[in-house]
Symmetry: C2
Subunit: 422 residues, 2 copies
């Protein structure tokens, strides 16, 4: 049993008052939690316990959302109640300059034997199973797990994922990492079979060596977004987490050695995970109805170390039969501006069983003869890995929304290439 | 009188048949054009002329959309009709491997004295004034002009601009550049007072020296997206335009010398122009309700050579009065996760008349106490240059759409920083 496999929770600081964090969390987690609050008799219709100690043997995890100054005392009570893991939502420790309280909390952790996530966290979410956080929007279940050292950035990303209908396996906000570190959480995730890729937002890394060892062992993609890459950013990070971000070059080379992909913005963090999870690697084949975007995509991929498949002569001959004379005879396969959905479909059919490439990027720009929605239908039927890149506005929206049900769709060249970057 | 200041057009190849290019163009341009087609008596209710020669003295420009093989003959007729400029929409010349026809066209151009844009173009659009193209969606008028060597990419970008409610001063599709080059068009644009910035998609540059000279003279931002930056991309470009893309490093250093900003993707091309046009330059000040995105933004700006403003002590003291104790006391101004719209407004008020920065980036991530729409109202009232960067999903949509009426809004850190890059 670990941090991510709770039996039952105690919500210490649960509340009847709407808008209170303790109210939101208990509402999110009611089906597997007991409320603890000496000032309430019942909370949302459930009996409220005076102290977590009354729940000894009944709960494996506690979520703590009480004023910072009583958190050390609550941790000791958790110890008495044989709670294994406490998730401390409360803020007001070293991140607010309160080192004294921070030290008290450290002492309580050591003496109680309780393992503590946080303080200053959003919580843990396992979509479709439990939501031990004060984030209320509904996430879909997926196969990527996400560790975030910033609660706020976490919320921004979760909101984005929801609006893009992308699921998560786990979301874990780690906060100040007073006890449980990013490495500890990552270790659980690389042992979780259903986590196919891990994305991490890091501000500063404790136990860096352990982190890199785990990354090296991991048989799944790990993608890291780390603040403080410039001296200006490092200065800002110091103000924020009161911990030195360290020399960024050391991080960069360590990430490289450990096979971790480092990215520099939020969209790429999400898109990289999505593409890696779905197994986009190897040689790319580009199909396009416009020469320019084909060239730009070629540049964007090649400059990021992605190999482009070479068309075998046999395939060129096959395509000569179905394409206009002036087609490119090359990768990118430029099927010419007047391509309708049928022509896109014919090319996809012709190459479907070929082995000379690993995945296809289909570029579409809306021209006079273009049929975005019908072309999308052809792409959805294609049985090999495919990434659509439709460049345009309203005329492609319906097609894009339709493909998003199954595929990762891009509307820009650079963002696609950056997400594929090795 | 130049290419971009037509008096009247002849549409040679105008048609009554819906779906035909000659129909679409005449419909788009009817208010300032005569239709020419010997096979029709009237087109859309207007008298159709048998030959452009009948229109001698009446038209300054011709748009030609007849089969490629008769284009040279039509150009000679344009010469007889004293047409100054012909826009050749027709394709099927060197881009399709038809060098013979291409040479015939060259000869006709030389002998007729007509200046020719194209062949193989989408046309010219001056939103709010005239649309000499077969692109039918309605563009708003703006202050950026856009030259595109690829019609298809042009369409993709125009569609994007429309869906983002962004206007253009001119759109010019230059196609194969058999006669009028990118440099010629650029020269007209830098002399056009209402063009505040020029964006250009280039595949290969003829008269490169002239191009760079014009760029050096220009007193407005010029931003270039050029395909063929890698050897793979250059190979693809060769297939596409049958012209060598040239050693890319030569282009890069030449662009740099000439003060041209080179970008690598479509979004950045558009966003750079928008930001430059609105005068975003100098020192940036960041306001954020989340430390992490503040750090990432600092990294993203600093790594692209953008200077961050330093907070004067006086300003720190002022902000101490209105912000919680734990605020960052630094740029980025981290106003802490529980910031409501009032707090954002108070900071914007406090700095509105300060001179230590040139523009403000306001970051918002939707947290428990965040008020995206009310915060957007505060931002819209701010009288200095400001770029909102709202990171999230559905909860920020209303605020983002509202701000888009006046501001350039981003939802990601890297794309904003890349658009500002010097």
């Amino acid at each position: 049993m670990g941090l991510l496999s709770p039996k039952k929770f105690a919500i210490i600081g649960a509340s009847n008052k709407k808008g209170k964090v303790g109210h939101v969390i208990f509402k999110n987690l009611k089906h597997m939690a007991y409320p603890v609050n000496p000032n309430h008799k019942t909370i949302l219709g459930e009996k409220s316990y005076k102290s977590v100690v009354e729940l000894r043997g009944k709960v494996s995890h506690a979520v703590i959302c009480v004023p910072a100054k009583i958190v050390p005392q609550i941790i000791r009570e958790c110890g008495q109640a044989e709670v294994k893991y406490a998730i401390v939502i409360s803020a007001g420790f070293s991140e607010s300059g309160n080192e004294k309280l921070n030290n008290e909390l450290k002492k309580a952790i050591k003496e109680s034997g309780v393992k503590v996530l946080g303080p200053n966290v959003l919580g843990i979410i396992k979509p479709g199973h439990y939501n031990a956080s004060f984030y209320s929007n509904k996430l879909k279940s997926g196969s990527i797990s996400f560790i975030s050292q910033s609660g706020a950035l976490g919320v921004g990303i979760l909101d984005k994922l929801i609006s893009e209908e992308t699921g998560l396996r786990y979301f874990i906000s780690v906060g100040n990492c007073i006890d449980i570190t990013i490495s500890d959480v990552l270790e659980e995730l690389i042992n979780d079979e259903k986590t196919k890729a891990v994305i991490i937002y890091i501000e500063s890394l404790k136990k860096g060596k352990k982190f890199l060892e785990i990354c090296k062992m991991a048989k799944k993609p790990i993608i890291v977004l780390k603040g403080g890459a410039t001296k200006e950013g490092a200065k800002a990070a110091k103000t924020h987490t009161s911990s030195l971000a360290g020399d960024d070059r050391i991080y960069s080379s360590a990430f490289k050695q450990a096979g971790v992909k480092r990215v520099y913005d939020i969209s790429t963090l999400i898109n990289s995970a999505l593409l890696l999870e779905k197994g986009f690697k190897g040689k790319a084949l580009i199909i396009t109805n416009a020469g320019g975007p084909g060239i730009l995509m070629t540049d964007a991929l090649a400059s990021r170390g992605i190999e482009l498949a070479e068309l075998p002569k046999r395939v060129i001959k096959k395509l000569d039969q179905i394409l206009p004379k002036s087609w490119s005879k090359n990768n990118p396969i430029d099927i010419i501006g007047d391509a309708d959905a049928k022509r896109y479909g014919a090319v996809l059919n012709a190459i479907e069983k070929e082995k000379f490439y690993d995945y296809v990027i289909v570029i579409l720009t809306p021209q006079a003869m273009t049929q975005p929605y019908l072309t999308a239908q052809k792409i959805m039927k294609f049985k090999r890995p495919v990434i659509p890149c439709f460049i345009g506005g309203d005329s492609i929206k319906k097609a894009v929304n339709y493909m998003k049900k199954k595929l990762i769709v891009f509307n820009d060249i650079a963002s696609l290439a950056e997400a594929l970057r090795k």
